[in-house]
Amino acid sequence: TDATWPPMEFVNADKEIVGFDIDYMKAAAKEGGYQVEFKSVAWDGIFGGLEAGKYDAVCSSVTITEERKKTMDFSMPYFKVRQALVVPKESNATTLEEMTGKTVGAQIGTTGYFAIKEMEGIVAKSYDEIGLAMEDLFNGRIDGVVCDDPVAAQYALQREDYKAKLKIAAVLDTGDEYYGVAVKKGNTEVLDLINKGIQAVEEKGLANEFRAKWIGQ
């Protein structure tokens, strides 16, 4: 996991990797009867590491996309998100289209970044971590940030100093996205285990509990 994506996965003050995904996977592991161990890895190499076998699975708010499916296998979806646009308070943009001519940041290799890159007229900027993009937005170096809506909410609505300056302008119409756990292509053994776990967690409705704990509404 790339533990720089609060509230889904991040490092808390006790240096533990925590977050929604983490609890979810732990629960899934318990249900599926296997052990998980989390490892913090930089996002832009996370799939490279998967392919290199540095770990067995990526559970890091990975949206299932057609492109990604070509190089890896996904578990069943376990979470639904949409892309959200975060802008400064004084901005009155409500759609991505209105950001034309402006600079918008996103984390490198995320669906948020793909969304802004495909948009004509927007200067797309890629960051190693979403927090760095938010900081640049906060400091006024860029005009907006696109990321998954729970993350956007975490930054724009939870943090004291950010709350004063930032807001979520819009949830983008790029469609629903589903998180899945990625495994190396052909690694059905691990995939089956994970799927089994997710199935069980969903059946028990534990997901809502975690949602309440980490995301709020």
Binding site: W43, G48, T71, I108, S126, D128, E135, D136, N139, R141
Partner: protein, 261 residues
């Protein structure tokens, strides 16, 4: 049998191929030709992904060069001021210049980049390219300061005495007599620092400046062609630095043979 103190100098730039060092001289050729042949072979034999990658990168290369040029320019100015401070008899100027060098050289460039970019971003609002250039030149200015100091000190004291006895003051002596001579000693290490700086600009990719490395990382993150992308990036950096190191080496030869003074 009195052993004199020998100082070993391994600059942080590229290995400059010199005719005196046949090993490096031929290694330069091997590396350069090898890199070119490999690059062409890869692009022709597997246009997907290699040609795609190569096409994706040019604006990154331009950014890399932009950052390099602006930074070296600024670093030279900072370096000159620092170098003059270091040899100054004014204790305060001297202490400031020395402490600047000591502190900057004690902190990793990457940390400085983060610091100047993000931490100071709270107080001053500058575009990312500007922030990157400032950070790079603040860092390299410290190294350049030492280059300038050594270059100035390499000029015979008699030159200063001759100039002063003609009636030139300190500043005039420095700018009319010392610096015009010192550039010959300063130029080769500056060339070397230039190459080192070009390599180190890869760090600004961390700051989301869209340089060569950042472009490559973006391509890799999307296409998952990590191995292929980094191969191309490494080859491009290698070719650039090899070309530049050849340039520096030619320049050194020129300086040595050029009999004018």
């Amino acid at each position: 049998m009195t052993q004199e103190k020998i100082i070993i100098d391994v600059g942080d730039g590229a290995a400059i191929p010199s005719k005196k060092d046949m090993g490096l001289f031929s290694a330069w050729r091997i590396s350069f030709c090898g890199a070119i042949v490999l690059l062409i072979y890869l692009v022709i034999s597997r246009p997907d992904p290699y040609l795609k990658i190569v096409k994706f990168l040019p604006d990154g290369i331009i950014v890399t060069f932009q950052v390099t040029f602006f930074s070296i320019g600024l670093a030279l100015i900072i370096g000159l001021i620092t170098g003059l401070g270091r040899i100054s008899r004014n204790r305060i100027a001297n202490a400031i210049a020395s402490t600047y060098i000591e502190v900057i050289r004690g902190i990793p460039l990457l940390v400085q980049l983060f610091y100047i970019y993000y931490a100071l971003g709270r107080f001053v609002r500058v575009p990312d390219m500007v922030a990157a250039v400032i950070a790079m030149s603040v860092c390299y200015g410290a190294y350049m300061g030492e280059v300038f100091r050594a270059g100035i000190e390499s000029i015979d004291k008699g030159q200063t005495e001759a100039a002063r006895s003609l009636g030139f003051n300190r500043t005039q002596t420095m700018f009319y007599v010392i610096l015009p001579q010192a550039w010959r000693t300063i130029l080769p290490p500056v060339g070397n620092e230039f190459i080192a700086l070009l390599k180190d600009t890869s760090l600004v990719s961390i700051l989301a400046v869209a340089d060569l490395l950042r472009r490559g990382r973006e391509f890799a993150a999307e296409s998952f062609a990590y191995f292929e992308t980094y191969t191309i990036i490494a080859l491009i950096y290698l070719l650039i630095t090899l070309l530049l190191s050849k340039l520096v080496s030619i320049m050194e030869d020129r300086l040595n043979y050029y009999g004018k003074f």
